[in-house]
């Protein structure tokens, strides 16, 4: 197991190298001169050509792309993510001040999503041809179709403006967390419900379930012990991926709820051609994504004894 984990971590390094190279190139090949965009962000719209040239030289944009990348990589290997090209703030500091907010939101929306999706999925699988089953499936269809920004605003309108129960925006206590987590959680739950349902149906039609029924086990034991555990594998995989994405931040929900997460930082930095900030964010998001996947793979071994990593 330990050998497997260390091998995976070793591979993650290559993934990160690939991801950062691709990001770096995409940013460079995107239309527009980065020096001009950065100069405008720093000094305002009314610029002189000399100023743009000066930014180009001081930030090293006149060097070939590979040289620029290697320079960045060299700094990273010395544990230095550099400074923002626009605001001169320390990149690592900017990311770490926002990362806790992203993490809290990611985990709580995942919990909400699974709390809704797994029971709903199981019920709609067991009662697949009944009104209850249809109800859950319709619900999840609606959930998939509702865009996050609309749901978010609707929730603010209901819970903050109409019922005066929750704050409409911001970051702080548990009360601030509920609406954004609910917005993200319910939309994810919709997909997970469908997945749980189909996975359950798959397992329930297998012979060992029939055998268990013939043996006289009660339905509850069959479903919760024998079926669910096997049906969990695809759900865990999917939840792991969702968590990975969530840890990369969610721009829409962060914007609507004024949630100080990493997603908006990344998107703003891309528009501003803030290379060092974008590279820093991508690196951090890449690491968390890879670690989440690793954690998922390890969970497999516990869920299914047939899977053992040697």
């Amino acid at each position: 197991m330990l050998k497997y984990i260390s091998k995976r971590i070793f591979l993650v390094l290559f993934v990160l190298l690939g991801v950062t190279i691709i990001t770096f190139c995409t940013m460079h090949f995107a239309p527009g001169d980065p020096e001009e965009v950065i100069a405008i962000a720093r000094y305002g719209e009314d610029l002189t050509q000399e100023q743009i040239e000066w930014v180009k030289v001081t930030e090293g944009f006149d060097a070939p792309i590979y040289a620029q990348y290697l320079k960045w990589l060299n700094h990273v290997l010395h544990l230095d993510l550099g400074q923002s090209l626009v605001t001169s703030e320390n990149v690592l500091k900017e990311i770490t001040t926002r990362f806790p907010a992203t993490m809290i939101l990611a985990f709580s929306s995942l919990i909400i999503s699974l709390t809704i999706a797994i029971p709903a999925g199981i019920i709609s699988a067991i009662k697949k041809n009944t009104i209850i089953g249809q109800f859950f499936m319709t619900g999840s269809l609606i959930g998939v179709s509702i865009p996050n920004f609309w749901l978010g605003l609707l929730l603010i309108w209901l819970f903050a403006l109409t019922l005066h129960l929750l704050p409409s925006y911001g970051y702080g206590g548990l009360s601030h967390l509920i609406l954004p987590a609910l917005t993200l959680g319910t939309s994810m739950a919709a997909i997970t419900t469908r997945l749980t349902r189909s996975s359950m149906l798959d397992v329930l039609s297998q012979e060992y379930i029939v055998a268990a029924k013939a043996k006289g086990l009660d339905n509850r034991t069959i479903i919760l012990k024998h079926a669910l555990k096997n049906a969990m594998l695809p759900i865990i995989t999917f939840a792991g991926m969702q968590l990975g994405f969530l840890l990369g931040g969610s721009v829409i929900v962060e914007t609507i709820f004024a949630w100080p997460g990493i997603g908006k930082l990344l998107v703003d930095s891309i528009y501003a051609r803030d290379f060092s900030m974008v590279q820093g964010c991508v690196l951090v998001i890449g690491v968390t994504f890879a670690l989440t996947n690793l954690a998922v793979d390890i969970t497999y071994a516990f869920l299914d004894p047939r899977i053992r990593y040697e």
Binding site: A30, P31, G32, D33, P34, E36, V37, I40, A41, R42, Y43, G44, E45, D46, L47, T48, Q49, Q51, V86, T87, E89, E94, T97, R98, I111, T115, I118, P119, L153, I156, W157, A160, L161, H164, L165, L166, P167, S168, Y169, G170, Y171, G173, L174, S175, I178, R220, T221, L224, K225, L228, T255, I256, F257, A258, P260, K264, L265, Y271, R273
Partner: protein, 522 residues
């Protein structure tokens, strides 16, 4: 069996946690509202990324800057020039040298006095003003004595206008340490910097040593709420007391709502449709004129912008601006005339597809709209333009692009029309006309007569002469159409009704909290 129970119990537990949480929170929110004292909470759309003069304060940073920092010269709520940190000024040589006499007994937030050295520091080579094109003519700033500063320019200019710019205020040299690293924002303004929580809030407290009328409120808290709709709802729940930059579509609803005051004022910002006069169909002035007649800006204001703003009908300067020419012959929309102009110019629909053509080339044009602050407004305006131009047989292809992509197309000259807002219009100063000057990176128009006129206007100090030149420029813009000016924007700010004494300023970046107070019925 034991395992199953555990899982079920876990679900039940989580549900319980959320129910308890809900109950707890409903208690928390109630108690928070009562705690509000003599502080003003303002919702803005971006955090302040920069506090130092070496960089331009972007986004909504200017609203916060204008509480902490002050400029030498100021504008009143109707854009009239008035003394700021300088009590008086004069130019001995017709605009090349300007001498400012500083107000006495003014202290920075750290107790150091305002003196000539601080002004010299604020306009040093470090400062962003020296890096911009706007004050390129500024050669040097010298301290004559402790309270007198001399600005020396390469050419005559109306410097006091420019020094009203909130992005170029006077900062204390103690903002930086010995090696020039920025420590904290120290200005002379009515509020002092207290703390900043990234992407969440900025807290300012009253400056009790303020030289002018001291604020009635103890503190100002700027809350960063990027989404305009959320800002509006936060205002309605009274989580914030004032919301800045509201969308047009919310205004009529808020105006009718009890307990909310909406403040509106014509600003100096004007949306305009810039033509690529150097390349493509708009090289032909007749086609530009047809577009000007085809677009009904009055209808645009009424339908797209819910009646907020003033139809420009081609006028470059908002009527609130000092040199806005009142006797211009504006474009009244006339579809038939537009069609006629195009027909006379040789355009006809020879293949009956609804789009005009000439020499086998269809009249299909691109209209570029930027993503960013103005995006939603500009996209709806662009769609209205698309509709109007379709009526005269022009096929408009709207492209929404990020700023870097636009710059790249602009540099290549690869576009037909661009939708912009007059970013360069700060206060009354008329620098905006330089945007159509052939040397400007934003210009897509080449006319030496215009260039000379714009230069002359920018180098004149005499008010009467200035006015005459700017009147001429406005006529020329209408006549020549390097751009067709669409809508003079209205600035919108809303407060809860318990916020009293607020006066909205015409100047966009300046947030004037003078005399504001909170009257809360407990």
């Amino acid at each position: 069996m034991a395992n199953n129970k555990k899982r079920i119990n876990l679900n039940a537990l989580i549900t319980c946690v959320f129910i308890v949480a809900f109950l707890l929170i409903s208690g928390c929110v109630e108690s928070k509202e009562e705690a509000t004292t003599n502080e003003l909470t303002i919702g803005i759309s971006t955090d302040v990324n920069n506090w130092y003069l070496s960089q331009f304060p972007d986004g909504d940073g200017r609203f916060v800057w204008s509480q902490i920092y002050e400029t030498l010269v100021r504008l009143d709520t109707d854009l009239n020039i008035e003394p700021g940190l300088a009590e008086s000024w004069e130019t001995p040589d017709g605009g090349k040298t300007w001498i400012f006499h500083l107000r006495e007994k003014v202290y920075f937030h750290d107790g150091t006095p305002l003196n000539a050295d601080a002004v010299v520091f604020s306009y040093s080579n470090e400062s962003c003003v020296k890096k911009m094109g706007t004050l390129r003519a500024l050669n040097s700033v010298e301290a004559v004595n402790d309270t007198t500063v001399k600005f020396i320019l390469a050419k005559p200019m109306s410097l006091p206008f420019y020094l009203t710019h909130v992005a170029w205020p006077v900062m204390s040299p103690s903002c930086v340490d010995g090696s020039g690293n920025f420590i904290s924002p120290i200005g002379t303004g009515p509020f002092k910097f207290e703390k900043q929580v990234t992407d969440q809030e900025i807290v300012l407290v009253r400056n009790d040593n303020y030289w002018g009328e001291k604020p009635a409120i103890d503190s100002v808290i700027f809350k960063v709420i990027p989404e305009a709709t959320t800002r509006v709802m936060a205002l309605e729940t009274k989580e914030i007391d004032m919301a800045i930059k509201l969308p047009e579509y919310d205004v009529s609803r808020l105006e009718e709502e009890d307990g909310i005051e909406v403040y509106r004022k014509l600003s100096t910002f004007t949306d305009f449709l810039q033509f690529n006069c150097n390349n493509g169909v708009f090289e032909d002035k007749e086609v530009r004129t047809a577009v000007a007649y085809a677009i009904d800006t009055e209808e645009m204001v009424d339908t797209v912008l819910e009646g907020i703003g003033v139809a420009a009908k081609g006028r470059a300067f908002s009527p609130i601006m000092m040199y806005s020419n009142p006797d211009l012959k504006l474009y009244e929309s006339d579809i038939d005339k537009a069609k006629q102009i195009l027909a006379q110019d040789g355009w006809s629909d020879s293949d009956n597809d609804g789009v005009l053509d000439k020499d086998g080339n269809p009249l299909t044009i691109t209209l570029i709209v930027g993503k960013g602050e103005w995006a939603s407004r500009h996209i709806s305006i662009a769609e209205a333009i698309q509709g109007s131009l379709q009526e005269i047989g022009m096929n408009v292809d709207i492209q929404v692009l990020e700023s870097a992509a636009i710059t790249s197309l602009e540099n290549k000259g690869d576009f037909d029309m661009l939708l912009r807002t007059g970013y360069f219009v700060w206060g009354p100063y008329p620098r905006h006309f330089l945007v159509h000057q052939s040397t400007s990176p934003y210009s897509h128009y080449n006319n030496s007569e215009y260039d000379a006129l714009a230069n002359a206007a920018d180098s004149t100090v005499d008010a009467a002469e200035q006015q005459e030149l700017y009147y001429q420029l406005q006529e020329m813009v209408l006549e020549e159409l390097p751009a067709f000016y669409l809508v003079h924007e209205e600035k919108i700010i809303a407060t809860n009704s318990y916020v009293k004494g607020y006066e909205i300023t015409a100047e966009d970046p300046w947030l004037n909290l003078n005399g504001i107070y909170i009257e809360k019925e407990q």
